[in-house]
Structures are given as structure tokens and as C-alpha cells.
């Protein structure tokens, strides 16, 4: 325990130096501003801003990059709430209730609770990393393909629970999502699947392209044919910050979200993606009136946003303690560290203690900066909604196109958001929900790859999923969840009325 405090004080000594404080602030600010562009998530933001850190010392550069990462992550949630465009998988859930809140004039409350929940989650996650980072590393290594497949099965069950309307339609959408995820070059054999010989499909469909089209562009089309709705968003702005009642409703979801997100964030292969979905599912199941979810329930923003930020933070554990990046953002951080002459690995902790602990302490500083930057900005963002829609939507469209082009520099991506936007609009018209499809899309690929990997390693023996205790446990939880989800729908015909 003495170690814990001396390490943290060493870290804060580094992170609180004037230069590093300034860099954390600058990183968070720039990250937020770039990340708020539709479609520009943390990966694109960090890649774009990487060169501006070249002149700095490694610790300062990494503190700034980490700031950019949190900023971009948070900026993505802002876009999800304000204009219903999730930049990446983790903010899909935020868009569900966050954007509904914005439509009801509660955008400020949604943004505020997201900022406060994230700050709380970030604080807890920083302490978890500092205290338990090293022992928790083992968890990442226990998770092989078998365990991962079972975890994904559990995730798909979340997708069923996520739906607010017909369960049959939700399952159909999940399957479409899984199907879309199989487009592209097969990992094991290198064969192209469902690409129709089109070269730009060889690497599959980009998540940002799909999400931006299905959510964002479709939303614009819907707003254009429903004049009255957009006026609601424009006129009633309401309170800017959450009040006592909002906090009362949110604090438990924040606590639960933080816990779930922190655990899932440690897992390899983007386990953090599941955090917000799991948190949302849990809140919906615990709520007295689950029907409020999907119609602007504050718990549906508070929980998932906390889970999102806790996961974003704890996914640094495998990177810091092992040097193994658990997802694409962390892989980029590895590159950034390497460019600055720090080769990430198990030795960083002992060889560069000031860098290691300085970075951990700066995580907390970064979260504080986010709060300081974002609470005053809430007013600014909300005022954006007052801009008449006929002026706002061309701007959103233009930023979508720029954002999506900046990710892969592919003109076809821009055309694809148009296509998916049209598909998304049709789905809204026919009462299908896009969120389960996006979760199916994210999980489908991971699920298939891990299933095949597990079966290749077990030489085709299906028992491997039951023989391994963690895998068996996860499958059991999935089965129980599925039964709980299906029972009321069988009994009561479920909440099938709400289709816009």
C-alpha cells in the first residue's frame, strides 16, 4: 500500500508539472474539437494529430496523446447525442437515449450527465489501474479464443434485450448485422466473400461508414420529411445541466456502468465494446419501467457513458503492463510510443517509472480537464441546435462526408454512407431498429473469427466451449439472459406498439 501511494505521488509529480498540465489540457481540447466531427473517432483523431507531438519529450507527448484520446472519445458522444451520429461502436448506445433526450429539449442534461458520469468512471478506473494494473494483466491472458467466443454469444443476447420493439425484428436485424460483418477477405483463407469482385469491399465494411449512414444520414432524411419533429429540437432547449432528480436517477447506473466497463475494458480484442451495451441492458432490466428506454431515459446515457469511459481507461492496462494493445486505438498508442523511443513492453514500468506513473496520473488529470472543458461547452453545443435545420443539415452532411473521407481517404466510403443512409431510412419507415444490427455487425466478425480459431486449436472438438470453465460460465449466463428476455415476450406479447 505504501508503494501505491509513493507511485501515485511520483506520477502526480510528473503529471502536475506546468508543461504536462498544459499538454493534457491542449490534448483534451483538440481531441474534443476534432472528435466532435461526425465520423471522426479516436483512431482518426490520434492519427491526424500524431505529428504535432513530435517536438515533445516522450512523457509529455504521451500525456497529450492520451488527452486527445479521451477528448475524441468524449467528442464522439457529443455527436451521438446532438445529431444521432455515433462515431464508433461504443457511442451507439449513447445515441439511443441521448438523442431522444436532445429531441425532448434535454440535450444539455444528456451532455452534462455524460461528462459527469465519465469523470467519475475515469477517476475510479485510474485508481483501478494504479492499484491493480499488474495483477489484472493475467485476466487478459486467460481469455483465449474459446472464452472470447462465449463472451460474444453473451453480447449477442444483449442485442436482443437492447431492442425496444418487436423481438422478431430485433433478431432479424442482428442477423443482418452479422451477415454484413462477413463481407470482405476471409481471415483464415484469404478468400474474398460477398465482395462482388469490388476492390473497395475487400477489407469489409467500415464500422464508421455503416453507423454514420444508418444512424446519421437516415436521421437527416427522417427529419426532412417530419417538419414538426425538428422544430421540437429547435425550440425547447430546457435546462443546461442535470439537477438533483437527474443525479438521483443516475448515480446507481453510473456506479454499475463503471464496474462493468472497467472489467470488460481489460479484455483483449476490443472487449471494451461490450461495456456500454452490457450496462444499457442491465439498466433496462433493473428499471421499474423499461419502456422509458429508447425514449430519453437518463439512465440509458449515464450508465453506458460511464462504462464507455471506464473501459477506455482500463484498456490501457494490457498496453502499459504488457505492451500488448487490446484494440486499434491502443495499437496506435503503441506506434506513438515507439516513435517517441519508448518500446512498450513489460519493462516500461521498471525502466521508465516516471513515464509509467506519470501517464497513469495524467489519466485522472485528463478526465478532470474533460469536465472543465466540456461543462462550459454544453451551452455552446446546445445552442448549435437552435440553428435552423435548413442551415444545419447541409453542414452536418458536409462534415459527415469530410469526416468519413478523412478516415480511409476513399471516395467509395462517402458514397456508401449515402447508400446506408437510404437503407437506414427504409428501416425506420418499416419499424426496424438499427442498434441491434450495429451490435450484430461488431460482434459478428469477432464471434466468427474466434469460433473458427477455437475450433482450429481444438481440432474441431465442440466440447472445448464447455470444458473450459470461463467459457462454460459465460454460455450459461447467455442462456439465462436469453430466457429472461424471451419469457415476457412470450407471455405478454411484449412492448410491440412503439414504432415511429
Amino acid at each position: 500500500m505504501g508503494d501505491f501511494f509513493s507511485n501515485l505521488s511520483l506520477g502526480f509529480g510528473v503529471a502536475l508539472s506546468l508543461q504536462n498540465l498544459g499538454l493534457a489540457f491542449l490534448g483534451c481540447l483538440v481531441g474534443t474539437l476534432v472528435g466532435v466531427l461526425p465520423g471522426v473517432g479516436p483512431i482518426a483523431t490520434i492519427a491526424m494529430l500524431l505529428p504535432i507531438t513530435f517536438g515533445l519529450d516522450p512523457t509529455g507527448a504521451l500525456i497529450m496523446l492520451a488527452g486527445i484520446y479521451y477528448g475524441a472519445q468524449y467528442g464522439g458522444s457529443t455527436t451521438a447525442i446532438l445529431v444521432n451520429i455515433p462515431g464508433e461502436a461504443t457511442s451507439v448506445v449513447t445515441a439511443l437515449d441521448g438523442h431522444q433526450m436532445a429531441r425532448q429539449g434535454r440535450a444539455g442534461v444528456a451532455l452534462g450527465i455524460a461528462a459527469i458520469g465519465s469523470f467519475f468512471a475515469g477517476t475510479v478506473a485510474t485508481l483501478v489501474i494504479a492499484a491493480l494494473g499488474a495483477p489484472l494483466t493475467g485476466l487478459a491472458l486467460i481469455f483465449g479464443p474459446t472464452e472470447y467466443f462465449s463472451l460474444m454469444v453473451m453480447g449477442l443476447v444483449f442485442a436482443v434485450v437492447l431492442a425496444r420493439g418487436s423481438i422478431l425484428k430485433a433478431i432479424a436485424m442482428i442477423l443482418v448485422g452479422v451477415l454484413l460483418s462477413t463481407v470482405g477477405t476471409d481471415l483464415e483463407t484469404g478468400e474474398e466473400r460477398m465482395t462482388f469482385g469490388l476492390p473497395f469491399l475487400a477489407d469489409g465494411i467500415d464500422f464508421a461508414v455503416l453507423a454514420m449512414g444508418i444512424f446519421g444520414i437516415a436521421e437527416i432524411m427522417r427529419n426532412l420529411d417530419h417538419t414538426e419533429h425538428r422544430d421540437v429540437v429547435r425550440q425547447a432547449i430546457g435546462r443546461l445541466l442535470p439537477n438533483k432528480d437527474d443525479f438521483k436517477q443516475s448515480y446507481k447506473p453510473v456506479l454499475r456502468g463503471t464496474l462493468i466497463g472497467a472489467i470488460l475494458g481489460i479484455l483483449p480484442g476490443n472487449g471494451a465494446v461490450l461495456g456500454p451495451f452490457a450496462s444499457y441492458t442491465l439498466e433496462k432490466k433493473l428499471a421499474k419501467d423499461p419502456r422509458r428506454f429508447g425514449r430519453g431515459a437518463i439512465e440509458g446515457v449515464a450508465g453506458p457513458e460511464s462504462a464507455n469511459n471506464a473501459g477506455a481507461q482500463t484498456s490501457f492496462i494490457p498496453l502499459l503492463t504488457l505492451g500488448i494493445p487490446p484494440n486499434a486505438v491502443m495499437a496506435l498508442m503503441v506506434g506513438a510510443m515507439t516513435i517517441h523511443g519508448i518500446i512498450p513492453g513489460p519493462q516500461v514500468m521498471t525502466k521508465n517509472p516516471t513515464l509509467f506513473w506519470g501517464m497513469i496520473a495524467s489519466m485522472w488529470v485528463g478526465n478532470l480537464m474533460l469536465l472543465i472543458i466540456n461543462l462550459p461547452m454544453v451551452g455552446l453545443w446546445v445552442r448549435l441546435l437552435k440553428v435552423p435545420y435548413r442551415l444545419l443539415f447541409p453542414a452536418i452532411l458536409m462534415f459527415c462526408c469530410i469526416g468519413i473521407y478523412s478516415i480511409n481517404s476513399l471516395p467509395t466510403d462517402v458514397m456508401f454512407i449515402g447508400l446506408f443512409g437510404f437503407v437506414g431510412y427504409m428501416l425506420i419507415k418499416f419499424g426496424f431498429e438499427p442498434a441491434p444490427m450495429l451490435l450484430g455487425f461488431v460482434l459478428g466478425k469477432l464471434m466468427e473469427e474466434n469460433l473458427r480459431r477455437a475450433l482450429i486449436i481444438s481440432r474441431g472438438d465442440m466440447m472445448t466451449f464447455i470444458d473450459r470453465p470461463i467459457s462454460a460460465g459465460l454460455l450459461a449466463v447467455a442462456a439465462i439472459l436469453l430466457v429472461i428476455a424471451l419469457l415476457p415476450s412470450i407471455r405478454k406479447g411484449r412492448d410491440e406498439v412503439f414504432t415511429e
Binding site: G323, A331, L332, G345, S409, R453, I456, I457
Partner: protein
Amino acid sequence: MKKTVLALAAVAGLAATGAHAQNYPTRPITMIVPFAAGGPTDVIARIVTDHMSRTLGQQIVIENVAGAGGTTGITRAAQSQPDGYTIMMGHMGTHGAAPALYPNLKYDPTKDFAPIGLAAGTPIVIVARKDFPANDLKGFLEYLKANADKVNMAHAGVGSVSHSTGIFFNSVVKVKPTMVAYRGTGPALNDLMGNTVDFMTDQIVNVAPQIQGNNIKAFAIATPERSPVLPNVPTTKEAGLEGYEVSAWNAAFAPKGTPPDVVKKLSDALIKSLEDENTKKRLLELGGVIPSATERTPEALQKLVESEVARWTPVLKAAGATAE
């Protein structure tokens, strides 16, 4: 009359290119890196171009165009204006293994480029899980041959360096372990450290920290000389394996038709960058091998590309590995 106009136009054109090359570069240069930001090729490109930018007096901007084992980015770069303002960082995969892996490849590595020069090699290391029942390469090869049906080899996806070099390893030692594909080196290493898979071959920059931290075992490094980063790891030759010397080299290219004096300027800037102490230090820290003076020229790079295509094509074709 017509002839005179044409001749005038030709002269004007020549004058234009001449003036252009003399002042080159007058605006920022784009270097297409055909992989995601943060990977070994991206890191090497950023380190090398940092100094080149200063020599040329114009910023070299890195643009990451990832996809299809790097061939998406290289295809785009090959088809761009050959004016010296779009160049690229190719590597062993895009300019060596790709013709065998991608039958519909839109470029010919030996014909469609104006080579600028070799930037850095990253040696390949043979690594295994920590509790693998062998302690040196000899024991490892014996175990492999005796238990070929039990052993799992990890790689980072068809078309990746670990995939091509892994297939090459299997063909040299004549074994056929079960191949397990991962999406990138990170997840593959994670499972290697978790003892889920048995071994892999990969670039030193990816595996060195784990070897130094005793999380995985290294049997040999596939270069003629040991690496200062891993002084205790023997070369394949020292460990008794002939014919497995391979490095994931990274090299700068311009599209075919780029004016020779522009290429010369770029090549000189690259060579100067490789002589810079800071660049050298950063590349060496990564475990990179800095090309010798004779290996740095455009001519040497052209020869390297030709020999690499000739080396990889039969190996990969025999293994039936294609990515289309």
C-alpha cells in the same frame, strides 16, 4: 506549322519539367504508408521522413491508406501523378509477396515504380510460448517434426509479414503445423503469451519487448548477424538452420515516370536521413537494421525487389496461399 507548334510545346514542356525539378519541392510531399498508423512500417516511415523533410525544406506528410495487405495504398500511390509529390513506403509484402498472394494485383513491383531507396530492415525472429518443451532451435525443430499434427502456429492474417515469413519457415524446415490466423500481431502475441498457440515468426519490433520480459521464448533471429537489441538470441545459421534468412524490409518508392532528378533529390535526402545520428539511434532502438551504403541506392532497391519477387512467388504459390 503544326510541327513547329508541337516542337515548341515539347520544348516548353521540357522547360517546365526542368524548372520544376530544379525548384523541387515547392510544396509538401505526401508519403502514402499502406498500413494503419502505429504499425512498424508507419513508425519507420515517420522516423525517416522526419529528417528528410528538413533536408528537402518541405514537410513530408504521411497518409495512411491501409487495406488488402498494403496493396490498396500502393495501388493508389502507383497510379498517382509521377511528379514527386506523392511517394510511398513499400515493404516486403507489397513489393515482394504481393504478386503471389494477389493474382489480380493492379501493379507490378518490378516495373511500375521508380525506386528511391531502402529505409530499414526489421529482422524476423522465431518465437514460441514460454513453456514450449524445447530450449533451443534444434530442440524446437525436432519437436516440430515429431509432433507436427499437434503444433499451432499463429500469424497476423493472410498477407501479413508473419504469415508470409511463417509459410517460408514451414517450407524451409518442411513441416506443416496448423495455422491459426489473428487480426494483427497484438492479438496473436496475446494468445502466444497465454499459451493458447505454440509459435510464430514476426518482426523484431513487435516481439523484442516480450522476449526481454521473459513472456515468450526466442529461438533464433533470421539475419546474418545478431541484433544489438537481442544479443542473446542466436542467428538461424548459428543455431543450425540454413536457408532461413528473412527481413521485413521497408523502402521508399515513387510512381513510375517520376523525373530522375526528382528521384535523385529524394534518394539523397533519404541517404542523408540514414546518416543522421538521431534517425540511426531511433531505428536501432526498434531493432531495425540500417542498410549499408551500397544497399541504399535506387539501383540496389530495384535489384532487391526483383530478387524478393523471385523468392516469394514460388514459396507462397506452393503453399497455396492467395488472398483473392
